[in-house]
Symmetry: C2
Subunit: 742 residues, 2 copies
């Protein structure tokens, strides 16, 4: 009885009548009492017991086991298959041929303490998926992280990678950018190594003594081009058995040059033999050598050939059917495939998702029924390029656009702070959820712990906002997990959640990312697995049960206004920098400051960036703010006095309009040069990979000095913003009508 | 004839009549044509041929040779001896006793290519002079650079060094600060090692392949307390044979705990055995280990005992006697003692000074006679603690205050940019000199090259000023070479000059700082040695020959105004930070952001800094600006129309007043807690060592939260500024009188 009183005293949830809100709070509390750390742990032990990459026996076995689990908890579950191009190594060789001989081992040894590290028969060798085939020899050049900025520095140093094999360290940008930019500059091959300064002894003792990557540990990973995600042979189309496929020769996804990832034990003998210019201070890692750039004494021969096979994907799709609004879907997902055993990536996430699903099944047995249909997914093929989720979205895009109200993703999970990214229409919503979750280490609410950390780390207005206690800002989504197709292709409002930020070292994408490592060095008590299950499950329930979809457009409008300001600042900065640079060239600054023993050329003169018409964006952002405020007022009015009006059939028509809000941001033509990416607010950067670019068509055009594109995109996005305003006004009018009893 | 015409067209030098200016320019050009790189080189070869530390046979031999050289060039030269406490190692031991055994080699091996590296009989062993004697054993704790900030971090991590032996890396602060702060925190011993990330393979290939410190290379150096410079037994008194000495037990100069410097070859086995907390990211060096802080498994035994002998110093003092103003002295100095062979430190500087002296002798033979007396010094005992120059100044302080118009110092010299620090009354003067000197690498004037580098590197107003082409700002002098006593004890306007900033790696204070190293990796053509001789010699001549001393007080006034603004900003920052910190403690920010596996305590609450009365400083700075402008106007008037009035006997009385200008900044009481330091504008920081603190009595009081001291000092310095104003007004009136023919 006491609990019921507390619930009644709690604020009315947005999108809920008082009665529905009280009921919801009661069920959410019941739900959060169910997840158990030990069950999360046992899920991990089972799912990571053997290597389970795409096409492996245990990948399928895991999928089938999960289907059975879902069914045992009362879910309607099945496997949906796709068939995708997934290369595996046929021939790998890296050898130093000059000035001395050395052949890289390309092998991660068994660690005695670690019981799954010896499953060599099932382990994928160390490689980068979608590397082009090739057998090449060239002088070795060290290119730091291998980003475009690094090549600008090389240009100034007078160093060309034409005909060379480059070696880049992991970090600084998504790995697929490294061979892409290397090939653009004429390199014939690319090695990527893990510097101990980034995830080895520089940050933690080497495994198994500590959590750090050991000397022979290698980061596998895909290097697919960022033209589109998903199966390389079926862009924009579901990779079903009979789908029309493009020829492998025609896909832009495969790198132009061979790429092989190596350990620092393999990299050190190569790097130590490079002569020529010493690397700039920022380029140096933590190996006990002097980092030289080359090209010089070191010559490398590398060979990389793949088996270019089509492999089946096993997506698990499980449903809890809705009641009054069964035609609206709340989708939750986490991938289940790994590069090897993948206890951290992705099993820490999917283990929590399964525990969540069990808990939802549990309260269903107690009488709870979701208003909307809940769809729980375990994706296959995320590692090579979000294959499973992308093919699912491409296959069902039409229905998703009509029915899906939210996609909620997670992936690796660890100790620390709740971390939230996503569509800003869900920012206020997910902040509300974060206020319900107890952080296992401090007992604070997850929202509060992150808020206090923001006060500590942020500066200026961001600190002041955190101090004022408003919504924590969520970052926009780029790439890196299975939300990409949902958000960028189908316009489904999406979120990505997880805990992390504590602990040191990483065995990312190596054979040591396994149960032994995770249970010794990460969320060893599995309490953050439980917390993730509580967070995601609460979000799913709250979205599923709301009478009116709890979207909030004020945060989106404010965020877009911020982006527009950023773009104006970006252009101003580009103009100022170009002016200053050209002035310095004229003054002879660069000629005067050259050390003749280490010559460096002046940067190239820059064309002065013109002014760009930002008015369409500014008008759109302002109009959006106004209509978001009007909609918010209408929601408040509808919720007043118990909000019984929300519990009437008329609300369905309003929800139908609300589902269209995110779609207004889609453009059928997609981004310039990347037509697959439809969303005009968010996209992964063409040259950052994982990193997001907001208002990408304008931002990247400015960054790339494509002024006509920037002008055009500003006008087009301005129009999309006005379209959004129109949809919002329609929703507002309908809601006012409902409240007025019309 | 053509040359004469060019000279005539050149602007009239400040402090000169037109006729004197033209003559001066002619002689300066003749002077600058004399110095030869090969002679600088041969000076270095001779002076660095054997180890020549204080008390060694070759130290005396060098001094005697230099006296002969000066004499052969027509100078009046002699040796002035002092007798100082100079400890040398009797017993050194560093051994790991737990968990494994390891005994440090404490030895720099012979390098076959390097012909002087084998002079073991004459080399001083690796040690830190003025280490306290002791035989101690303790758990080993890594303290990063061993600064006060590092111990604040240790406090928050809950790590005490009480009873421990600490190991700090070189860098971050002057070495003497490390044992001082360690002892303040209860440590029983201190090791200091050279991390390869700072001057070893992290920046250059190891010697002899490159210029970088090799694995066994050690940085010797003094760790004397900063209470006062010079002989530890004769503070404030010249250390003549019969000087009254304090007891060795009573000098504050010797460290409270034993200190030994070690190589990274000796440090690695020790560091690798430390367990406990992993060091924060900023604390990690470039050794191939995980840096732990401890205390943990590693226990160290160290023993350090010195022979506490009195050794003779051999200062070389050479004079070219002046004519009309023989009673005014222009003093030039560079030390000649080294830790071992010291080709870079200090022979690169003294070799140039000798070539300068030869060139001045050369033009004397051609008829040039300096108006003032020129005094060229080669100091002994700089390395242990500016012993030779300090004892000289203490002995002659009364005459120096009356007669010395400038002290110009140099020390190590290399390739790159002209670098100028000093008293701001000489800022405008030395900028004028820098405009005469050709940079050997670019052919630009040294002023111009540094100006363009400032445009490249500076931001905001500093960039704009450099662009406008005004005087380059010179930094204030802290500690680190022989200007300290001249400026801080005697109030002689001082400058420190040198070229540098190019080249990589360093053999600083090791046996490898020798002719082989310097002639392979530094100013290998000795053209910057020639440039230093041209720069310093031109400055000496221009100061010696001016009719009116070319001091400019506008730069000083502007610089002091800047310092006052800095102090106000500093207090504001302290207040803001205290407010923010206390707020965060109240909000529970620190408790919320603790990782329970790596706990860290909240910082301690800070008392709110009160407002301080800066008005006396502000009034003083403003008044000084006004009177500096008035004086400048008077100079311009006197110089107008050929300025023949400057060439009259009456100018001597004005110069006598000008000599008093810098003395106005001295306070007999000295700084709070450091009475030896008399100058109230500049001092080395009590906890930075080399680093300068400007308006130190106020600045350090604010930094140390000693508010009453800050208030008191602001009033006192305000008074000194008004005293300076009075002296300036006197000079201005006298100059006006002279111009008016009174």
């Amino acid at each position: 009885m006491l609990m019921a009183q507390q619930s009644a005293a709690a604020p009315q949830l947005e999108g809920y009548s008082r009665a529905a809100s009280d009921a919801e709070r009661g069920w959410e509390e019941k739900f959060r009492a169910v997840p158990e750390p030990d069950r999360v742990k046992e899920n991990m032990r089972r799912l990571s017991a053997r290597p389970h990459h795409v096409g492996s026996p245990y990948d399928k076995d895991n999928a089938e086991w999960m289907v059975q689990q879902f069914k045992s908890w009362g879910w309607d579950a099945e496997i949906e298959n796709f068939y995708v191009l997934f290369p595996t190594p046929k021939d790998r060789l890296v050898e130093l041929v000059e000035p001395t001989k050395f052949t890289a081992g390309l092998k991660e040894p068994v660690v005695a303490e670690d019981p799954t590290s010896n499953q060599a028969d099932e382990q994928l060798p160390t490689y980068n998926a979608y590397s082009g085939d090739g057998d090449v020899t060239g002088r070795l050049v060290y290119v730091n992280y291998g980003t475009r900025e690094d090549y600008e520095e090389l240009d100034r140093l007078g160093i060309s990678v034409k005909g060379a094999v480059v070696i880049a360290r992991y970090g600084g940008a998504w790995r697929g950018i490294k061979p892409k930019v290397a090939a653009e500059h004429g390199a014939v091959g690319c090695l990527i190594y893990s510097d101990p300064g980034n995830d080895g002894y520089g940050v933690a003792e080497s495994f198994p003594k500590g959590a750090g990557r050991p000397k022979d540990g290698v980061q596998r990973g895909s290097v697919n081009d960022t033209a589109f995600p998903g199966d390389p042979l079926t862009p924009g189309v579901g990779a079903t058995k009979d789908a029309k496929r493009i020829d492998i020769k025609d896909t832009p996804i495969i790198t132009k040059i061979p790429v092989i990832p190596i350990s620092y034990a393999d990299a050190t003998p190569l790097l130590a033999q490079i002569t020529g210019r010493i690397a700039p201070a920022k380029w140096r890692g933590q190996l006990p050598i002097t980092y030289h750039i080359g090209p010089g004494a070191a010559k490398v021969h590398m060979r990389m050939f793949s088996n270019w096979d089509i492999k089946p994907l096993y997506n698990v799709v499980a449903k809890l059917h809705g009641t009054d609004a069964a035609g609206e879907w709340v989708i939750r997902g986490n991938h289940h495939d790994a590069w090897v055993n993948g206890a951290d990536d992705p099993i820490s996430g999917i283990s929590a998702e399964l525990e969540e699903a069990r808990a939802l099944g549990e309260i269903s047995k107690q009488g709870w029924k979701p208003r909307r249909t809940i769809v729980y997914c375990a994706w296959d093929g995320e590692e090579p390029g979000t294959l499973g989720s992308t093919e699912f979205v491409e296959t069902h895009v039409k229905e998703l656009k009509e029915h899906a109200v939210m996609y909620l993703n997670s992936d690796s999970n660890g100790r620390g702070y709740l971390w939230m990214e996503g569509s800003h229409g869900l920012e206020h919503f997910i902040n509300g959820v974060a206020k319900e979750i107890a952080d296992p280490e401090t007992g604070l609410k997850a929202y509060e712990r992150t808020r206090l950390a923001t006060i500590l780390e942020a500066k200026g207005s961001e600190r002041a906002e955190a101090r004022a206690g408003g919504d924590l800002h969520i970052g926009a989504l780029g790439d890196g997990s299975d939300y990409v197709a949902f958000q960028d292709y189908a316009g489904v409002p999406s979120l990505d959640l997880g805990f992390g930020g504590e602990g040191r070292g990483s065995e990312y994408h190596s054979i040591y990312d396994d149960f032994y490592w995770y249970s010794h060095f990460s969320d060893t008590k599995f309490v953050y697995g439980k917390a993730l299950a509580q967070t995601a499950g609460t979000a799913v329930m709250r979205m599923a049960d709301a009478e009116l979809l709890p979207y909030n457009f004020r945060n989106t409008a404010e965020t877009i206004a911020t982006y527009v300001t950023e773009l104006k600042d970006l252009l101003k900065t580009e103009q100022d920098e170009a002016e200053e640079l050209n002035k310095q060239i004229d003054e002879g600054v660069f000629a005067a400051t050259v050390d003749p023993e280490e010559p460096i050329a002046a940067p190239e003169r820059k064309a002065m960036p013109p002014f760009v018409n930002f008015a369409p964006l500014e008008n759109g952002a302002r109009d959006l703010k106004e209509s978001a405020a009007a909609y918010e007022a209408a929601v408040e009015a509808a919720q007043a006095n118990g909000g019984a009006v929300l519990d009437t059939p008329g609300v369905a028509a309003i929800n139908a309009v609300l589902i269209r809000t995110e779609k207004a941001y889609l453009s059928e033509a997609g981004l310039p040069d990347r037509p697959w990416f439809k969303h005009q607010l968010y996209a992964p950067g063409a040259y950052t990979g994982y990193g997001v670019k907001t208002l990408p068509a304008v931002r990247e055009s400015i960054e790339q000095y494509k002024w006509a594109n920037a002008e055009k995109a500003a006008v087009e996005i301005g129009k999309l913003l006005e379209d959004e305003v129109a949809v919002l006004k329609e929703a507002t009018e309908k809601l006012k009508g409902l409240a007025a009893g019309k």
